[in-house]
Symmetry: C2
Subunit: 104 residues, 2 copies
């Protein structure tokens, strides 16, 4: 059993999004991404079994999908297959939590 605080651990960078590993195990990987306004996790996919969630903790932006974008604001959560193209772009500073099961 372990606890951490995402807001205290996760920092921002003017150069590019900041990625912090929250947890990794054979069951799931949890990653915190912090974006300054304008930064993004570019759309991508992996040919692997499994699913992931992209949860917005703070701020506002848009999810990137193969066929366009979807609004992404605090409380929103997207779930998709790891093999489906996905990404996110920040309009304001933004904290995001990604969970991948099972890990890549």
């Amino acid at each position: 059993m372990k606890t951490m605080n995402i807001y205290q651990e996760g920092t921002f960078s003017d150069k590019a999004m900041k990625k912090s590993l929250v947890h990794d195990s054979p069951y799931f990987r949890i990653i915190n991404f912090n974006f300054k306004a304008g930064q993004e996790l570019p759309i991508h996919s992996h040919e692997l079994e499994g699913e992931l969630s992209i949860q917005v903790l703070e701020g506002e932006g848009e999810y990137l999908a193969q066929d366009g974008t979807l609004p992404a604001k605090a409380g929103d959560i997207l779930v998709c297959a790891i093999s489906e193209p996905h990404g996110i772009r920040a309009k304001t500073d933004m904290r995001v939590l990604v969970t991948i099961a099972p890990p890549l």
Copy 2:
């Protein structure tokens, strides 16, 4: 691919904590629990393989563990084995997201 908003979907009840299923698949189950101040998810465990996370979205309370309690506030995330005793109690109204991998 699907999106939802945890804050819009999840309601509160004066009678007991409110549980809403966010997502369920062979890979992970995501559940939103909303607690009014004083409500709790009592400490429990299951003799199953896997891990879970308990993430505080809003509010304040305490995690329940076999050997005592740990503070739980917005941004905190606890990760433990499904077989380890775990629970949470709200001091203020509280929104929590639980992820179980693989699902029970």
